[in-house]
């Protein structure tokens, strides 16, 4: 059964992020950026289209689309 995009959100596991910037570069809506530690951070959650491209290209499993209820 397909999960509705409304039930999903981008999760970030900052301690696994190595700050390569790949997810930020290929985000089609440019909603990601670096935080003050040089790690990825969600800047504009409202405009995230939950396409999952960040998860597909993250080499470190540090960003992914997951269920909302488990935040």
């Amino acid at each position: 059964m397909a999960v509705s995009k409304d039930d999903l959100m981008v999760h970030i596991k900052e301690e696994w992020c190595k700050g390569c910037g790949i997810c930020i570069a290929y985000c089609p809506k440019k909603v990601l950026g670096f935080n003050e530690h040089g790690k990825v951070s969600m800047l504009d959650r409202d405009n995230c289209i939950k396409c999952g491209m960040c998860e597909m290209r993250c080499p470190d499993f540090a960003i992914f689309l997951g269920g909302k209820e488990n935040v």
Partner: protein
């Protein structure tokens, strides 16, 4: 919360992995996990075998039956595993040097036998773990620590090498074209016979720095601009001029080695 894919298919206590920031190997490793999930394979029926090198660290992180072997010999060990236990889905992870130089002999003979193994080549065009020596896939003129004035060798095309040696499935994609890469890995897992997917990776630390290729993102952009899909190249040859071709190079059916082996046993039992 943790990523369910990672919780299901990886050894959480071994992560994060040791690969450098921006290394493409993590992208290939997650594509393999997603492909295995999509193929619906039982975790206990999957065996992942590797040799030595950056890429060969992968089975240490992946929660399957795993085997980390000697340099270049992953396919030799995998052949043994497959013959002893043909119902296992045996996946070999090998770097470009591991697979085509140290293990080049094993590659051509596994391909020639058409044994039902799935080989994923993590091709970063260099020996990363040992300090950036040039490998058989380093482009002519590019630098490595052992080629400080530029490499004079001609590079191997590993996909064509496997195809030429008799692989019945051979495909190539890059870590930029990750959807396509995952599709080919799924097809390679489903394929009966020797299958090889060359996953063109990026090594920003050694290859990138030595050759002034810029950041990981710059190198990913280079992949995006330098690779053209085979179907596009066939329809619009002008778009493929000076580009690398990715796609399914070979996909055919031929008698498979473990089945032929079983037939010999059955025949001699009579």
């Amino acid at each position: 919360m943790n990523n369910p894919l990672v919780e299901n298919y990886f050894r959480m206590d071994k992560l994060p992995h040791i690969w450098c920031p921006g290394c493409g190997h993590g992208i290939i490793m997650s594509a393999i996990a997603r492909a295995i999930e999509k193929s619906g394979l039982d975790k206990d029926k999957v065996c992942i075998v590797s040799g030595i090198g950056c890429s060969s660290r992968a089975p240490g992180y992946m929660d399957f039956n795993t085997l980390h072997t000697t340099h270049g010999r992953a396919l030799a060990f995998a052949t043994g595993v497959k013959l002893a236990n043909p119902e296992l889905e045996v996946i070999v992870i090998a770097g470009d040097g591991d697979l085509s130089a140290i293990g080049g002999n094993h590659l051509i003979h596994a391909a020639r036998r058409n044994i039902n193994l799935t080989t994923i080549c993590f091709n970063n065009n260099i020996y990363g773990m040992t300090g950036g020596q040039y490998s058989p896939t380093t482009a002519t003129g590019d630098k490595g620590t052992t080629a400080p004035y530029g490499n004079i060798d001609r590079p191997f095309d590993i996909t064509q090498l496997a195809a030429g040696a008799g692989a019945t499935y051979a495909a190539k994609a890059t870590v930029y074209h990750v959807n396509q890469l995952q599709k080919y890995i799924e097809a390679a897992i489903d394929h009966k016979g020797f299958s090889m997917v060359e996953a063109v990776s990026v090594c920003p630390t050694y290859y990138g720095r030595k050759n002034k290729k810029g950041s990981a993102v710059d190198m990913m952009n280079w992949l995006k601009d330098s690779f053209v899909d085979m179907k596009i190249a066939e329809k619009m040859p002008e778009k493929a001029v000076g580009k690398f071709i990715m796609g399914e190079y070979v996909n055919k059916v031929e008698p498979e080695y473990t089945e032929l082996y079983d037939q010999v046993i059955e025949r001699l039992k009579r």
